[in-house]
């Protein structure tokens, strides 16, 4: 029992699998939650970056459009001025141009021509000497581009404006250096971004180094800038590496890492808890088993003690019986033989002598009866019980017939009522009836209308049996003494007996786990009762 309980607590084959899956489940769930949180944070961050980049790009585009419009307006103002003031010295024209170029530094040059072949009358570039027009042939009015002096060179926006409604005063020819113009605008607005500008398929501007990480390609924002004359530029913004480093905080990654680690820790903790719980269960089971064992040991000790006490009592009763009771009849034999020797040395036995011989014989047979009673009592305590179901009524009837035959005394009415069946040793319970019925016969002898009744009933877990007579009864004060070894309530010699019978009854009944008692009054009959458990415990 002990081993099984402990083993269940320790191994618990059914518990082996859950022991593993719970920590695994915790790790999986923890990691999933961490990854989810990480993804949300990263997405949120990307959204924020995109939005701020879009804001910057919108601002850039707006500024670029305004700046280009300002340039065009300045050039148009110049053309209108020339148209208004009409012919005047070239030096004045030159001064106008210089003034405009001073204010708009991205102007590559401004020139005026009124010759059919397009040779300029004046030309001015920002702080430089006059240059010839880059394109051969007469210029056409309009705004277009991008134009380059050489492949891969800087890109320009070319502006050719008529001076006078139909160009009757010539043409204003100018170029805007796009690189310079865009630098001027974007250095202010989108300082931390790498910006590229495209006109059609051509890249017209590039500044800053974009973050090189391939997986950050998503945050490139392209914004169109719609300029006058149907010109459309595309401005492509990307954060520079320093800005990227600022925006891309490592917080989500830290969270992810701590989530993973915490999940592992939690799983380990749970596992440890389960181990602890299992250990405490094991301890509890061990404790229980030990307690059970302790209880069992205590019970066994109590049982042994009871057995020992019983044995000791038997020994004591045996000693008492030998010292007190057995000596008396033997002493009588010795005494009367002495008297015979003394009184009848040389003469034949007379009536008194014969009486003494009879006494000697009676004492000897009494000693024999005492010995046999003692042996029967001892055997009743030692013999192994052979338990079987017993029909008590038929047993009582059968035993009564034997007792009547043995006593040679059938002048009695015998009533056997219905008796509950019981489990017990048939032979020993037969002895019980034999002793009780013999007593009933003996102690009712000589009475009128002798009657012996056997009754029985079931009360709770007990079957109770009773042998009642209408004989001389007894003083209830001495009820307990009745069941003592060789105890008799009457000194009178008219009832034979050794006083062993009820002691034997008591012993047999107690060996069956039952109890005995007697009820009676002087001259009002006696009732001897015994109670037996309905079921005998196995192994008792």
């Amino acid at each position: 029992m002990y081993n099984r309980a402990v083993q269940n607590a320790v191994t618990g084959r059914r518990r082996a699998w859950p022991d593993v899956w719970l920590p695994i489940l915790i790790v999986v769930l923890g990691w999933a939650a961490s990854a989810g949180t990480w993804w949300l944070l990263v997405t949120e961050r990307r959204q924020t970056i995109l939005e701020s980049t879009q804001t910057i790009a919108g601002e850039s585009s707006h500024q670029v459009v305004r700046e280009v419009e300002a340039y065009l307006l300045a050039l148009r103002d110049l053309a209108e001025l020339w148209e208004l003031v009409g012919r005047r010295p070239l030096a004045h024209w030159q001064a106008d141009v210089d003034g405009v170029i001073d204010s708009f530094p991205a102007l590559d040059f401004v020139a005026w021509t009124d010759s059919p072949d397009g040779a300029p009358r004046i030309r001015s570039a920002s702080g430089q000497a006059m240059r010839s027009l880059p394109e051969p042939g007469p210029p056409q009015p309009g705004v277009d581009g991008p134009v380059r002096d050489r492949a891969g060179g800087p890109a320009f926006l070319r502006v050719v404006l008529p001076v006078g409604p139909r160009g009757e005063r010539g043409l204003l020819v100018s170029r805007i250096d796009l690189d310079s113009l865009l630098h001027q605008v974007l250095d202010d607005v989108a300082r931390s971004y790498a910006v590229r500008a495209f006109w059609g398929d051509e890249q017209i501007f590039s500044r800053g180094e974009a973050s090189a990480d391939a997986w950050q390609a998503w945050w490139r924002v392209e914004q169109t800038a719609a300029l006058p004359h149907g010109i459309v530029w595309r401005l492509r913004h990307r954060p520079t590496p320093p800005l990227a480093a600022t925006l891309l905080t490592p917080v989500p990654h830290y969270l992810l890492a701590s989530g993973l680690v915490l999940s592992l820790l939690l799983a380990a903790l749970v596992h440890q808890l389960r181990v602890t719980v299992r250990q405490s269960r094991f301890l509890a089971a061990t404790n229980r088993a030990l307690e059970e064992r302790g209880g069992e040991l205590e019970r066994r000790v109590a049982e042994r003690t009871r057995d020992l006490e019983e044995a000791l009592n038997e020994l004591r009763a045996f000693t008492q019986a030998i010292s007190h009771d057995l000596r008396s009849p033997l002493g009588a034999v010795l005494n009367f033989t002495s008297i015979l020797e003394e009184d009848y040395p040389h003469r034949p036995l007379d009536m008194e002598g014969l009486e003494m011989l009879a006494r000697i014989r009676r004492s000897a047979s009494r000693a024999t009866a005492l010995l046999s009673g003692l042996l029967r009592h001892s055997r009743a305590g030692r013999v192994t019980l052979s338990i079987s179901p017993i029909e008590m009524r038929s047993l009582a009837t059968e035993i009564f017939a034997q007792v009547v035959a043995a006593e040679g005394d059938d002048d009695v009415e015998f009533l056997a009522e219905e008796l509950p069946p019981v489990e017990g040793d048939r032979s020993l319970l037969g002895d019980v009836f034999a002793n009780l019925l013999t007593n009933a016969l003996k102690y009712s002898r000589g009475r009128e209308k002798r009657r012996i009744t056997v009754r029985g009933s079931v009360q709770g877990d007990e079957c109770i049996y009773e042998v009642a007579d209408n004989g001389r009864g007894f003083d209830p004060r001495f009820e307990r003494k009745l069941f003592g070894m060789f105890e008799r309530l009457d000194p009178d010699d008219d009832v034979e007996g050794t006083g062993a019978g009820l002691a034997i009854v008591d012993r047999i009944v107690r060996r069956h786990g039952g109890r005995v008692w007697a009820e009676g009054r002087p001259d009002e009959g006696a009732r001897f009762c015994f109670a037996l458990p309905r079921k005998q415990e196995a192994g008792s």
């Binding site: 010292s323 007190h324 009771d325 000596r327 008396s328 002493g331 005494n335 002495s338």
Partner: protein
Amino acid sequence: MTTVADGRAILLVEDDRDELDVALRAIRRAGVDAPVEVARDGQAALELLGLEDGDAAPLRPRVVFLDLKLPRVDGWEVLRRLRADPETAEIPVVVISSSDELEDIRRSYALGANSFLVKRFDRGAPGRYVAEAAHYWLDLNCPPPREEGMQ
């Protein structure tokens, strides 16, 4: 309270008829001239001594010869009751038992026995020890003075 005029009475408490006859015979043979009252069990002895609800005048014997193993009330109980009552506390009690168990002897003295005799089965003079004891307690031993006698 009146007492039987029994200055030399012996109370013999013995349940076994054979023992009783032998003892009585020995006392008679030895010429002890004292009345012998007999009780066949402890209950009867207590009644004779007036220690039970009895109507008879209580007996005040010179000595009580008391067997231990008795029906109903045993010798020890008689002894205990005898000693517990001031009227009978000083009556000499001689326990006569077939037992020579030390425990029985010790217990008897503890309860106030004055003497303990083990029944003897001497060849030639059965019961003589009883007669000798009677002689000792009646003729040689000075009984405790009685209150009534002193007044």
